[in-house]
Symmetry: C2
Subunit: 364 residues, 2 copies
């Protein structure tokens, strides 16, 4: 069923998107302000269930790309993703009937909403990452045969770039990242144009709704003095993200972070409150690997989320800092994201990690 | 008058293009092989005098961009610039009636000939640099109001990129250089699409013919045991490049060269045969400045050409090395390239040099 997204949803949505961002995906706070402004100017947004998209409808996903460390400082006006979509439409000689997230974490849950509000386009409740990932080829769309090309990039000065690498989505990422770096580290894009039938076949469904559920559950637990982690675990049980596991509780003891080659890369450490155990986190924009006392507890593509220990407020990699009291949770990804072809594209080996993938529900 | 370019012209053309490349522009030897192959497969090429191009004809210039140090090692197949032209045509929804060089030095005298032969398109005898320059905004086309955008880039794996920065040609260069670096340091492009009327108004005319004249003059002087420099000086007197001055004769004593940010940058020194005088050359792909004993003798946009001292064979910056016996000449550029707006775009200050432009014929 389609539903209408209003300003009242945004706080919960942003919080949920930050959880699904697994530390990355860009700051949803900035995205939330952009959506709020767009809704105030253009009215609320129609969210389409993927089952409602016509098989022959043309869906053009929109997103932001760049290092979260840069996004944090270089705010978009909201016009850039519209420019990207319009540029791609012009290149294709076709008009979009809807837009969609390519990524359901962080700011990229929000960017398609900005586009939807500004252009009066519905937004499909689905995405291609089922979380946040750092690179453009890391999409269920591509895993199941939809090419990212042609893609369009819109810059803040009205510059446009259209890249076409055929079926090679990795090459598309490589060139688009080069342009993004030249644009100052952040850009807005339209890519993975597909039919409604392809949305149904390749997208992770209902992840905007999922983000809203996650954000709302945390808020309501707080309001009712309940344990937000327990509430979240309960709420997820009915979704495609069935399993939540607490990986660690403790205090951040070290963060090493650098912006290089267009990404925020680094590692973080935390020590348990009793001082007995140590957590190590590795990230490239998003958290990739959680080790406790040297043993793997959760690894990509399963979600590794760092939350503030009392409020369960998500903490992104670019705001992680010494002394924060945190609870680190692992959440299982949908089966669609754990097939051999999916793991080849965004599993541990795609990030150069030498660990084979094991589901978090088996590890913890 | 239009004329037909055949395989027999290529050796002279390549030599002349290397002289006009002023040390850069990419190795014309590689370009010569590509044109020879294209002529053998597709027949000779029609060269149009700019006066013969219809005012409403669509001219789409083609070129290679990249660091000459890379071009030297990473040979194109010849399909890449055709891909760039076809991509731009598709983007514009129009077909080119001719192609043209954007640069008359080095490999870029050759690339449009490859395109012309392969596609059966005439090539206009004109260009936008009147020599070689390292950056895409350094064009008389842009100086006199023709935008470089939209531009298309073709890669060796069939990747295409279309960049549109409106009237900001410097921004276009910045983004295109980013893509070129990601393509491995060399790319092929189509840009500065213009009408025949714009060719007549903004291009430096008859520079393919000029390259041929320069190359032929040097060869014939050698064959007749005449001084090639004197012969060249004589031949240029009747062209827009009226003045030739000998700046220095001596032996290369030092070369410092690095490939950075997509360019070959560096400096070279030479010592006169009597050991009394010292030449210093500064280059960014092309030679920019010649100092003799610390005094300016020639500076960009005037041509600074390093030739082998006996044969007058041109030496490009990437093949310059210790011990070479050289004669360094300066050649005056056409008036079109010395206006205040032209000097603002490719004069000394555009390269961060603190010297004001003085014509070589006044300096020596």
């Amino acid at each position: 069923m389609s539903w209408t997204l209003t300003e009242d949803h945004l706080e919960d949505l942003a919080r949920g998107a930050a959880v699904l961002g697994t530390g990355g995906g860009g700051d949803p706070y900035v995205g939330r302000l952009l959506v709020r402004q767009a809704i105030r100017e253009h009215g609320p947004i129609t969210i389409l269930d993927p089952s409602e998209v016509g098989d022959h409808d043309l869906v053009v996903p929109t997103a932001q790309m760049g290092a979260p460390t840069v996004v944090h400082e270089k705010l978009p006006s909201g016009e850039e993703p519209v420019l990207a979509l319009r540029t791609l439409e012009k290149h294709l000689g076709k008009r979009a009937s809807a837009t969609m997230p390519i990524e359901c974490g962080g700011i990229n849950s929000m960017i398609p909403l900005v586009v939807g509000a500004r252009l009066g386009l519905p937004v499909v409740d689905a995405d291609g990452m089922g979380r946040a990932f750092p690179e453009l080829q890391m999409e269920t769309f591509g895993v199941y045969g939809v090419p990212g090309s042609p893609m369009a990039i819109g810059g803040e000065r009205g510059e446009t770039t259209v890249i076409d690498t055929g079926s090679d989505n990795r090459r598309m990422e490589w060139l688009a990242r080069g342009v993004t770096i030249r644009l100052g580290g952040v850009a807005h894009i339209a890519e993975y144009t597909m039919s409604g039938a392809e949305v149904k076949r390749t997208a992770v469904p209902r992840t905007l709704s999922l983000a809203l559920t996650v954000g709302r559950t945390i808020r309501e637990a707080r309001e009712n003095n309940l344990d937000p982690i327990a509430a979240l675990s309960e709420a997820l049980r009915e979704t495609l993200y069935r399993n939540l596991r607490v990986l660690f509780r403790g205090k951040v003891s070290d963060v090493e972070r650098r912006t290089e080659a267009g990404f925020a890369r680094g590692r973080a450490q935390a020590v348990s409150f009793d001082g007995e155990h140590k957590l190590e986190l590795l990230f490239q924009n998003e958290n990739l690997l959680a080790l406790v006392d040297g043993e793997v507890r959760c690894l990509v593509p399963d979600l590794i989320c760092v939350l503030e220990s009392e409020s369960a407020e998500p903490i992104t990699t670019e705001t992680l800092r010494y002394g924060q009291r945190v609870v680190v949770i692992g959440i299982s990804t949908p089966d669609l994201m754990r097939t051999p072809e999916a793991l080849a594209t965004f599993g541990p080996s795609a990030f150069g990690l030498s660990y084979g993938f094991t589901p978090v529900e088996e590890l913890v």
